[in-house]
């Protein structure tokens, strides 16, 4: 609950305690679904779909090896006092721990590699077994030539752990910025795990199918670089399934939970909430039937045509909190951006309509579908107020109260080969009214962007925490170009 202690100024201590209590209840309820404890009435239903089953669980294979010079060492870094045996055991135990905690199959070569013949064997092993990545841990500064060779020849993403004492800045300055390579020069194994998470996230993209619900066609395509399948299905499919969806025990249970744990309920009636829960169960069934792991729907078009009695906003929040990407307005790259926060950062975000707050030079990020588990899917949720979808005054939309003072990251795939990544700090939650627009609406003071009007992109995904370096590293590993909003207002430059 550390985040609660960092919440500056937005809540009173009493409010905080209330939220902690309600958050714990929600967390318990959600955890039951994920952890498979005693089934609730909703789970005993024959057609209950565990949302955890919709998240992709790819097999991730990483080959690993230690690189060193022939022993015993004498002069040269890491030095004679570097305890090789102890370090080797330490690496093996860290790899074992990562294997268990991250669910990644990491196969460490039996013996450290210390000559050219060993290197050639490693290159051949990688070519033969085609792992998802190769992890090498350096035990001598003289191994960097081999790292270069691996980067050129192994044909798979390369993760390099160089413990302090095995590199100078000159060793890493070039190769650490090279596409397909991720270099850690540190004693922090958590940084290696970041690299392993990147590999896992990429595999999750590859194993995912996005259900693209719009238009009136059915087809399937694949996204460049990410390898994600996109199954387009006619928009009416959702309306038809929704119309048939009963008010089941699960629907009642979900609706009751939503209302019980809300900080406040403003507009939605019980009927609205039941419809919201029906949209949630409908979406789960449709995802399962289509063997899909994420969706993006032409929701505004459906509401505009009055095809459904409720926009799906509240249902999308529920899906996001289970790690299932649910995107708005059939914005496909908005959905892949949500998948990035879900798969790489382990937390939801929300795609936003960006607004310039010119009086305070802030960016306002607004939409109606924010997840609540801002600190992570396995963490307590943020408080929320139950509202309607502001543009239509229909249905349920959560106004999620984001923690003021915390850093945030904005990510957006412009296309499969480019990601906009920016960061900032949360200044306030914007109430509607007096403001118009969407229900979850936060003010952000941008880092490294002089003027908030110049923030790049639309439907950027806002997620909690500063993940700029991690997202950049992911992009580098997979040949995606990361870009940032301009630091200075572009029109101010070069005016005649």
């Amino acid at each position: 609950m550390g985040h609660v202690n960092q919440c500056h100024g937005c809540l009173s201590r009493r409010q905080c305690l209330q939220y902690i209590t309600s958050a714990a209840i929600v967390a318990t309820a959600a955890g039951r679904e994920v952890a498979g404890a005693a089934p609730s009435p909703r789970e005993r239903s024959a057609d209950f779909i565990d949302p955890a089953s919709l998240r992709p669980t790819p097999k991730v294979r990483v080959a690993a090896a230690l690189l060193r010079m022939p022993t015993p060492y004498w002069l040269g870094w890491p030095g004679t006092t570097f305890d090789l045996d102890k370090h080797t055991k330490h690496v093996a135990s860290q790899i074992e721990r990562s294997r268990r905690t991250l669910g990644i199959d990491i196969e460490l070569a039996e013996k450290p590699i210390e000559d050219e013949a060993g290197m050639s064997a490693l290159v051949q092993r990688v070519a033969r077994s085609r792992p998802d990545a190769l992890l090498v841990v350096l035990q001598h500064m003289g191994c960097w030539g081999w790292v270069e060779r691996l980067a050129n020849e192994c044909g798979t993403p390369l993760l390099v752990m160089s413990p302090i004492g095995t590199s100078f800045t000159g060793h890493v300055i070039g190769i650490s910025r090279r596409p397909g390579v991720y270099v850690v020069s540190s004693l922090e194994w958590s940084a290696v795990e970041d690299g392993l998470r990147m590999v896992r996230a990429k595999r999750m993209f590859e194993e995912s199918r996005i259900l693209w619900i719009h238009n009136n066609q059915r087809n399937e395509t694949v996204l460049d670089r990410l390898g994600t399948r996109v199954r387009q299905i006619p928009r009416d499919t959702f309306n038809e399934w929704f119309a048939r969806e009963p008010v089941s025990e699960e629907v009642k249970d979900v609706a009751a939970d939503m209302r019980r744990h809300a900080k406040r309920i403003v507009e939605p009636t019980m009927e609205d909430t039941l419809n919201c829960a029906r949209a949630y169960t409908t979406a789960k069934k449709l995802l399962a039937a289509e063997k899909a792991n994420a969706l993006s729907m032409d929701c505004l078009g459906m509401v505009g045509a009055r095809l459904v009695p409720t926009p799906p906003c509240g249902a999308w929040t529920l899906l996001q909190d289970h790690g299932i990407t649910a995107g708005c307005e059939a914005d496909l790259f908005g959905a892949t951006s949500l998948m990035l926060t879900s798969y790489l950062l382990g937390r939801p975000g929300y795609m936003n309509d960006p607004v310039a707050e010119t009086a305070k030079n802030l960016l306002i990020a607004a939409h109606c579908t924010s997840g609540t588990r801002l600190w992570g899917f396995d963490k307590s949720p943020a408080p929320y107020i139950m509202r309607d979808h502001s543009e239509s005054s229909l249905g349920v939309s959560m106004q999620v109260l984001w923690p003021v003072g915390e850093p945030v990251t904005l990510v957006r795939f412009s296309h499969a080969g480019e990601v906009i990544v920016d960061t900032g700090k949360l200044v306030s939650n914007v109430p509607t009214p007096p403001a118009g627009g969407c229900r979850t609406s936060v003010e952000i003071r941008m880092d490294d962007v002089e003027d908030a009007r110049d923030v790049l992109g639309f439907h950027q995904v806002v997620t909690l925490g500063n993940h700029r370096r991690l997202v950049r590293s992911f992009c580098q590993l997979y040949g995606i170009n990361p870009i940032h909003s301009p630091e200075r207002a572009p029109h101010a430059e070069g005016v005649a």
Partner: protein, 384 residues
């Protein structure tokens, strides 16, 4: 070589065969719900923009009738196979629909093999609509990229005296120049998506010229939105921001003292986006080449009054503009061994545009793998 040339004259039909209607009967290429295309009885790939055919020529090479059949062209990848007897060689081509988002691409792979132990020189012609423009890695038709070319083998480049050599797009009538100026300022080429605009001009090896690049910005009203970087061979780089220099709708030109530094008899001219600029699409309106020595004034050049004394005036993106490569002709000189040689083309299917290979990570292997993955369970869902 002489005999090959004779054979070429005798066999190659200079103009591409006319496209036939999509409605014509043929062998359809299976797709996962995407718009269909087909292979006709002559073995041509028929798309919404026209037809693509393969013709072979060479000593002992001739074109037998095409055998067209449907079936798997790789494990789990349904497609169409085209087999032809080519005399001294065999032609075995396959085409399948790669489910590249958003509209797919047809992947045509042509395999040639010598029937004997003798290596056979073959000229392979890819027949395209006559107005197709062959660029570095893309063939375009009316601004649409219709064929993506592999890095290797390299096609036979039949180069004109001058022309564009890029993946940019013509946008005639885009600009609204104000004041006295050459009418060519109305037209532009644009490097959509950040691709460079590139031209080449034949000169004496090591020769020099005064090159003027003309710009007129008619979209942005504020400076700093679309600055570009101009690279003219032999001259220092220059950053140009047309709005900052001349204003909105105001034509202007910048002088470069160009020289054929590498002695290849060509002057290279390129306009690129300035790194980090908000609008990454570079534009260019006019190019003038004048003899080396004392350069005329930019004002006189912009007015068009000196066109008669220019060695070249290029109405960039206008009706007189041209590709460096001869239109509609895409040819490869191959030496075909018994073990065979292969050429893979990415072809725009209905509704699709081929993305620049420099911006795409797809390879023939990943395209096949994507097709196999999607088609594996497509039949089960297609009927829903």
């Amino acid at each position: 070589m002489k005999r090959i040339a004779v054979a070429l004259l005798g066999v190659i039909v200079a103009a591409a065969l006319p496209p036939r209607s999509n409605a014509q009967a043929g062998t359809p290429i299976p797709t996962p719900g995407l718009a269909a295309s087909h292979v006709d009885s002559e073995g041509r790939l028929v798309e919404d923009w026209g037809a693509l055919g393969i013709r072979l020529a060479g000593d002992g090479v001739h074109m037998g009738p095409a055998g067209v059949s449907a079936g798997d062209v790789a494990p789990g990848v349904p497609g169409v196979r085209i087999v032809r007897d080519g005399g001294a060689v065999t032609l075995d081509a396959t085409v399948f629909r790669a489910p590249v988002w958003p509209s797919g691409l047809d992947i045509l792979t042509v395999r040639l093999a010598s029937k004997s132990d003798r290596d056979v020189p073959v000229r392979l012609t890819v027949e395209l609509p006559a107005s197709a423009r062959v660029g570095k890695r893309l063939v375009s038709l009316g601004g649409r990229a219709i064929v993506g070319l592999p890095e290797r083998p390299a096609p036979v480049r039949e180069l004109r005296e001058w022309g564009h050599w890029d993946e940019a797009a013509d946008l005639p009538g885009w600009a609204r120049p104000e004041g006295e100026c050459d009418p060519a300022f109305r037209n532009i080429r644009a490097g959509l998506g950040g691709v460079p605009i590139a031209y080449r001009f034949a000169v004496e090896p090591g020769g020099a010229a005064n090159v003027f690049l003309g710009f007129c910005e008619s979209h942005w009203r504020a400076a700093g939105q679309r600055p570009v970087v101009c690279q003219v061979e032999g001259a220092p780089l220059q950053e140009i921001d047309p709005i900052a220099r001349w204003g909105v709708h105001k034509p202007g030109a910048v002088l470069f003292a160009a020289r054929d530094v590498n002695g290849d008899g060509r002057l290279d001219v390129a306009v690129l986006p300035k790194p980090g600029s908000p609008d990454v699409n570079p534009i260019l309106n006019v190019i003038w080449l004048f003899p080396p020595g004392a350069a005329p004034s930019a004002e006189a050049v912009v007015s068009g009054r000196l066109n008669a004394v220019a060695t070249r005036v290029v109405d960039v993106g206008g009706p007189g503009d041209q590709a460096l490569e001869a239109a509609g002709r895409l040819q490869y000189d191959l030496v075909v061994a018994k073990s065979g040689t292969e050429l893979t083309l990415l072809v725009a299917c209905p509704g699709a545009t081929v993305e620049s290979p420099s911006r795409s990570a797809w390879t023939p292997e990943t395209l096949r793998a994507a097709a196999a993955r999607v088609m594996a369970d497509w039949s089960a869902v297609a009927s829903r």
